[in-house]
Each structure stands twice: as structure tokens, then as C-alpha cells.
């Protein structure tokens, strides 16, 4: 799969991924001569960043960290490329003065250790040749302060028995919003006149083995109409967000809902202002 991001500096690198889940301070966090990770909270203590596609959320700590990256380069222990969720000046400065290709705006949590990866800072993309992308939509239907969750039947191909929003794959040549309308019709019986679109958000990524689901999230408010299930679900519930914790859901459902409601609140506030 290919992910577009913001290219920082220039150049192209290939290598194996080393992913750190927490922000990194290069000063004190990485040994400048060997590339060994010194940060005990990183979960990767003692592993070397040398020649790796180093993925982590963003930098932290002292601005001297930029020079540590430069020193890694001089010692031949620098990462082949740096991939961040959000670029901060310390890491970007280090990457540029050391001529290490860098990308930001990438969901680094879906890069796993050992993945083969190509980073292209000139054109701003990351390629994971051994990982496939599955674009899907997830719709959260809302009625007042409650949201709809549905229990997946035993006939569906994945996550049987788990609770989910309205979801399904985006077909080739189909736009995510058209896929959403189609899936709502199929899974709930509601036509386009029965709800209005309130919020969409940037895609959320979830990974299992060599597959990545690119989830396009939608929040929709019911205007009228009753739910009628198809074969994909056995039952449905209208619940408050607080009750979500007592249901066994598909991965990242809470995450999707939180993102949508946060955008929804922000947009409402802006309208009120």
C-alpha cells in the first residue's frame, strides 16, 4: 500500500521498519555513535535505529537533538529514513542537516517492525509493498444523544458476533460517500432522505497481519425512519457513548466515534461563535 504524507528535505530510502510508539528525544534517548535506543520508556531499549525506517509519532525534548541526528549520520548509525505523524522542528532540522529523507502526516502505528518500506521525501509518499490496503466506510447513525450499534452475524466474513457501526468496503471506482449511502441502505434499510450527514473525518487506519483497513468515518443524524436489518447483523441497540465500553466491538470503533464527536463539537462551537 501507498500512503501520502508531507515530504521533508529530499531523497529516497528503503529499509526495514523500526516503530517506536512514544515520542523520542534524541538527546539522551539515542546513543549518537551506535544508534542504540537508550530511552527506557520507548519499549525498544537497546535496539538500533541504524539503517532502519524509523517510525515514531513526533520528537520531544532538547533542540540539541538535531545535532544528535547529525552525529548519528556521521557515525554511520543514522536511520535510513524518518517517518512521523507530526513533524516538529527538532526532528525536521536534524533530518535536513543530515540529509535523511523524512515524511510526516503518516499514521505511524500501522508500520510494524520488520515491514519492508520505501520512503520518498521528494514526492511525499511511503510504500509498504507487502501490505495491502482495504478502504472501508464506517457510519455512526445518531438519534438525539444515542448512537446505533449493530451485532455482526455469523455469516459475515470477519469479526462475527462483534458490535459495529454501519460498515462495508468501498468498491473500485466508488467514492467513500457513495459507499456510505449504499451500505446504510443495505444494512439498515434507510434511504438517503431518512438522515443527514453531520460530520466526516480524515481516514483512521487499523492493521491486522498484512492488511490495513483505511476507515472513512461518517456521523449521520436520523431525520425519520425505522431500522430494518439485513443478513449481516443479528440485532441492534441505540446506546449512549458512555455505554460503549460494555459491548465487545470491532477494533477502533471507539476511536472512530471519538474522532467524529470531537469534530462535531468543534463545528457546533464554531457555529455558535
Amino acid at each position: 500500500m501507498k500512503l501520502n504524507g508531507m515530504g521533508i528535505g529530499h531523497g529516497k530510502s528503503e529499509g526495514e521498519v523500526l516503530q517506536v510508539e512514544r515520542p523520542i528525544s534524541f538527546l539522551g534517548g539515542v546513543e549518537p555513535k551506535t544508534g542504540a535506543i537508550l530511552d527506557r520508556e520507548s519499549g525498544k531499549l537497546g535496539e538500533s535505529v541504524a539503517d532502519k525506517i524509523l517510525a515514531f509519532p513526533h520528537g520531544k525534548g532538547s533542540t540539541v537533538g538535531s545535532y544528535v541526528i547529525y552525529q548519528l549520520k556521521k557515525s554511520g548509525a543514522a536511520p535510513a529514513a524518518i517517518v512521523n505523524q507530526k513533524a516538529d522542528p527538532i526532528i525536521a532540522t536534524g533530518a535536513i542537516i543530515s540529509e535523511i529523507p523524512m515524511l510526516s502526516e503518516i499514521p505511524t502505528e500501522i508500520l510494524w517492525d520488520g515491514d519492508k518500506a520505501v520512503v520518498n521525501a521528494d514526492d511525499g509518499y511511503l510504500d509498504l509493498p507487502d501490505v495491502t490496503e482495504n478502504p472501508v466506510v464506517t457510519g455512526i447513525l445518531r438519534k438525539g444523544d444515542k448512537i446505533l450499534i449493530m451485532k455482526r452475524s455469523n455469516e459475515v466474513g470477519s469479526f462475527q458476533g462483534r458490535w459495529a457501526g454501519i460498515s462495508g468496503g468501498v468498491l473500485d471506482d466508488e467514492k467513500p460517500e457513495d459507499a456510505m449511502v449504499r451500505e446504510i441502505e443495505e444494512e439498515s434499510g434507510l434511504g438517503r432522505e431518512s438522515y443527514r450527514l453531520s460530520v466526516t473525518g480524515s481516514p483512521i487506519f487499523a492493521r491486522r497481519d498484512t492488511r490495513v483497513w483505511k476507515v472513512h468515518p461518517f456521523l449521520l443524524d436520523i431525520i425519520e425512519g425505522e431500522i430494518s436489518l439485513d443478513w449481516e447483523h443479528d440485532e441492534f441497540q441505540w446506546i449512549t457513548v458512555d455505554d460503549l465500553g460494555s459491548y465487545e466491538t470491532v477494533p477502533r470503533l471507539k476511536n472512530v466515534i471519538d474522532v467524529l464527536l470531537k469534530i462535531d463539537r468543534a463545528e457546533k462551537k464554531r457555529v455558535c461563535d
Binding site: 538535531s66 545535532y67 547529525y70 532540522t93 510526516s104
Partner: protein, 390 residues
Amino acid sequence: MHLTKGEERILGGEEGETRRRAMELLVALGDISKAEGLVPIVSAQVAGASFKTISEAGVEFLEELSADAKVTVKSTLNPLGMDREGWRDLGIDEEFAEMQMRILRAYDKMGIELTCTCTPYFVGNRPDSNEHIAWAESSAVVFANSVLGARTNKEGGPSALAAAIIGKTPNCGLQIEENRQPKVEVRVGFEPSFDDFSILGYVIGKSVGQKIPLITGISPAEDEHKAIGAAMAASGAVSMYRFAKDREECSQFDTIEETFSVEREQLNEAREHLNSSDSKPDIVTLGCPHLSVSEMKWIAWFLHGRQPRKDFQTWFCVSRKIANQCPNETAVMRQFGKIACDTCMVVAPIEKLSSSVATDSSKAAVYLPTLCNQKVLFRSRKKLLEMISK
């Protein structure tokens, strides 16, 4: 980011590899911050001058760069890891001194004024209100934005250097008027004395983080601004504050979203928190940030007629230029300690010389334990002077 034709040319390497790299760094940093373009600057303050902080990698980087890099605007330099003349007297070893001098020569070759101070605004780099500048050194950044009204983001060493080479900086953040409005009001519920300003800044910085505070109920003198700003930048990530002495002045700010107050009690708690030792310090230090002329005069006035206690060292940290302007004061102060020019207690390799330091600066008290492995005696300036004299 939008680039002019001239900027594109530099980025394309038509003015040489060094200028291309400097431009590449500015463009990347501008893109990250969603800047629309670059803006010309009148001056730069470059950090990353002490061998202790930038180490071998920094020396190599600067020497490589200095082969053909030249700054194009007024550029001044942060403190070194030693007094460039009196380093032996401070106890600095030969190896350190040699590396430090290589750094100094590299900056000199690039055309940077070797001011070696965190207070460029005392030594001729003093921009006017609304002028764009690119300064590193957090305490100078906050002073420039808040007291001088000049405009700078908190630059890192390489980005300030790149800005000095190109003469421009990304037009974003505090370069832009609408981002310079205070969002949080901090009401000071008592009349602070000189010794309160540093610790007051520490308390405010802790509470406001990166936000721009409007501090009301204070009317600081310049040295007090220097103290409060340095502390806020160290305990939080404050790059700018506004202040108002009364409600009337306060009413011109209409962007406040939250308000809280600071009482004297919190200052005492913070003092205790920063203090990690009560035994005799190895070195008593003053001058974080570097001492001003008026501070030199006050210290000399206080010490005049007193006798030195010789049982520990004292460092008065000050820029060489200010020290030279105060011959009578330094003559008095030398009876009580060393005039440590070009450097300070935090960026000098003090960990090789000492294990506990006394200071009146909350900025120094924040960094001494982590960057210098020191125990800290946190005391008022008057207490420090009484400690070294009788």
C-alpha cells in the same frame, strides 16, 4: 509555501550548496508550520555555541558549514562553554578549550559577532518594535517579543543560523500579529520585589505552558523582565507575554479566555521545590541570564566595604562587553569571585568542577540538576551576596 523567484533559485542550488541547504531547512520548517512564505529579518541570535551542548557532531557540522557560509544580517552568538580568555582560571581543561575554540572560529568565519551572551539586547542587537528577527535562546526570545515588541519564534541553533545566512525566516507563529494576543490572564495578587520575579515567572510558566499570558498587577523594570521571562521560558514553553499594571491597561486586551491568580504562598512552595540542597555549595553563581550594567552596579554597591569569604568559588556571569563597560564594578567584584565572561553556570562543563551550585535564577535551577548534575541552593540575590561576604 510560496517562494519568490529569488528564493526558488537559492533552493535550486544556483547560489551554492550551503545556501541551498539553509533554504531547504527554512522551507521545510515553514511547511511544517503552514507558513505562507518567508519574511526578511533584521537580526539573528544563534544558539549552539557551547561544546558541552553541541559536542563533536556540532563542531563538525559548523566547520563544514563555515567553509563557505556567510551570514547576511546582523548576527550575534549565545554563550560558550567557557571564558574565551580566562578559561584556565575557571578550571576548564585543555581538550574542552580546544574544541570550544574550533566552534568559536567557525562562527567567526561565518561573520557572526562573537558576543557570546544570552542577552544580545544589551550588546548592540536590539531590534525595534515590530521588526522581524530569528532568535534562538529562549530567554532572549521572550525578552525580544515581550519587552522590545520585536517578532521572533523560538528558533533552534541550525534554524537561526539558516535564517542568518538567507536573511529570512518562515512567516508564521509569533511573526504574525494575530498570533501575538494573550489568551490567559494571570493576576498577581501582591507587589513583587526584585527577588520575586524569577520565581514568579517559574510559577506562571508551569501553569500556562505554551500560551501567551497577560500578567496583570506588575510593572517590571528591565532587569525584572529579564528574570521573569527567562523563568517562564524554562518552566513552561512561553515565548511571549504581555503585562498590565492595572485594570485600565488590562482593558485593551479582549482575547482573554481564562484567568487565574498567583499568590505569594505559591512562590514559597516553588522556591522549596527548586531547592535541592541546604549544605555549603561548591560554587555560588550569579548572572542567569547574563548580568546587566545596572545589576553589576547594584552588586558592586552591595559588596563595597564588605570582606570576602574565601571558602568557596563565586562566578559572576556576564557578557564580555558589559564587563568591559563596568571597570570599577568588576574591580570590586573580583575581590569576591571570578568574572566569568562569555559563559554561564549551565552551559559550562560545571559538572566536572562541582556538585552543588547556588543560584538566584529559577531558569538555572531548572537546568542545573538535569544538564549539569548539580544540587541546587536556590536563594535570593542578597542571600547569595551575604554568603560570599561579611
